[in-house]
Symmetry: C2
Subunit: 381 residues, 2 copies
Amino acid sequence: MCRDWGAVFGVADAADLFEHFERGTYRGREYRYLPDARHGVERGTAILGSAVVRGFPSIPRVLVLDPGIVEFFDGPVTVEEKLNGYNVRVADVRPDEWDDTDRDDPVGPLAFTRSGRVCRYTTEIVREQCDLGAFFADHPDLMVCGELVGPENPYTAHDYDDVDSVAFRVFDLRERATGDPLPVDERRALCETYGFEQVRSFGTDDPRAAVDAVADAIDELDWRGREGVVLASADGERRLKYTTSAVHRSDLAHAFALPFDYGREFLFSRVIREVFQAVERDEAPAETRERARRLGESILLPAVETVRAVDRGEVVGEEHTVRGDPAVLDALLAQFRDQGLDVHVRADRREGDERAVEFVKRASATRDKTAHYLEGGTVDE
Amino acid sequence: MCRDWGAVFGVADAADLFEHFERGTYRGREYRYLPDARHGVERGTAILGSAVVRGFPSIPRVLVLDPGIVEFFDGPVTVEEKLNGYNVRVADVRPDEWDDTDRDDPVGPLAFTRSGRVCRYTTEIVREQCDLGAFFADHPDLMVCGELVGPENPYTAHDYDDVDSVAFRVFDLRERATGDPLPVDERRALCETYGFEQVRSFGTDDPRAAVDAVADAIDELDWRGREGVVLASADGERRLKYTTSAVHRSDLAHAFALPFDYGREFLFSRVIREVFQAVERDEAPAETRERARRLGESILLPAVETVRAVDRGEVVGEEHTVRGDPAVLDALLAQFRDQGLDVHVRADRREGDERAVEFVKRASATRDKTAHYLEGGTVDE
């Protein structure tokens, strides 16, 4: 670590910041990543030799569009779709940056997950789906930020009509060392130039008009079971998010399928989003009761199914399917096991040159606590 | 403090234990109480001069009756109704115990809330409703433990068919200094002797038979909107509780009427109780969906009402009505204000010799956060 990291990050106590970085390796090369935000440095920030790849910032949320949007923005607002997948940053670390990189064997563009880990599987997917070579030749200091979506992915699987397996949709271009975003128009034009598929734009409006534009977009997205929108100022600096009832319910259903692993942290926030949405939409009593019914079902039914599955002795956890180069899938499973995840492979088959693996990240808290209570264990509350 | 408190409580570090006691006063006399369990000493334990009044122990819960009851008990089990009110202990501190008590003006029996505070209002109620003089003359070292229930009470108001205003129902007699309970049969007989109204007993069975007895009792209690049951071993030492879907929903409705004050802590545990109850009852899909609908309504609808009330500028909080001696009600309101509660009196009227006060314990977190979000404030999640 030869750089003045305190100056790089604008942090007085660089030593304390570094204590919170963890070590990872990619093809034998070591890097560091920050799994939680510290000292104002974003979660997911990674250091590879002298190269810094900043984490993607957390985007604040409003619970009411009016006056939420008007209070937050003082100029034109672009409304873009927020997709339900996992957040990925792609950066091209050069051989002269990563100290131990062989100049004759550059690592090439790498994909970082939200927490800052390099994911070999995601790296392969983005390299296949985007012409990263041309982009990074022209813009070596940018990072490509996007969502990896689709039914076959190892983190957050969700169906999209136009995605059979997995797809990458760009929603940001940022300076990788500072995290500063490009202006929205410039970003969308650059993505167009390099042929990157990007998130849908619902257009640009002044804040007052954006309130109605977002309400209409949310109606359509909710009806189609999609997640929501992200709003951005023209310079890309200010962002705000707002989500559909459909994703509140699908988050809850996902969490309550594994209640003792995810239930507690998800529950309250989603309920509160539903409450304010019902109020702002000035729903009639019957509409709010219908919202309540669907809320209750998204919480209770998946949890009941899981308790029954544990009672039958079945494996419970997050189920995923991934498809691709056999060696890459091996690397992915090894990576998960290195992270301490208890991965159970349900099916593993060849489909032509590809391999398809169905696996479960076993949810030990849900399995153990559910079994304990089913055996008559007591609770102190 | 002249006693060897370490020996009294069986605690090595008596000094640390004492740091956690808080000071209270009753009619100018000082006492101490322990608002949270510490060093194995129950929450609510109070010290008045040399007298100790132990806190009421926390009772564990099972999420499934079978094998929960069979695993927990190894002899006869008495099933009694658990009422939805507030837990009160009544003890008679003698003049020679409370150092600064005037022997010519003994304080008489006092009622302690769950946290160990003497409540002047509750003290008056139990003195009116029970012949405490005869009881404590014969059993000075016992404490009478019961639930204060009914629609007009300042802590947990809930309707019971046979209670117009407020009533005291005894569920335990314990040694006040040690907390040791009397055997169940002896306790019920003593209550009978002194004319104390006590909680309903559903009878005594061996643990295997108690599973069905409790299931039947819960069906009836749920249908009547009541809380649940407490099971006890014959010696009174081992206790277990189990509750109805009706009270899970009413807890949630109460909590989500003030979501930012109570919502988070209540939500997860009640959902989990519903999940295991649905599984143990082996409900058909339509029954579980009905349970889910009612769960969703108990969460969402009260919260929507409260957000609307804040939007209209109304006072939100826990609403209570109390009735009684004007001076006692003044003391109650003063006691709440001393505790830092923001009490707003809605109505205050004479009804014959009595006074009836309707008041709200203002819920500042719910008011402030709701207003913040309605004004467009952001959330970081």
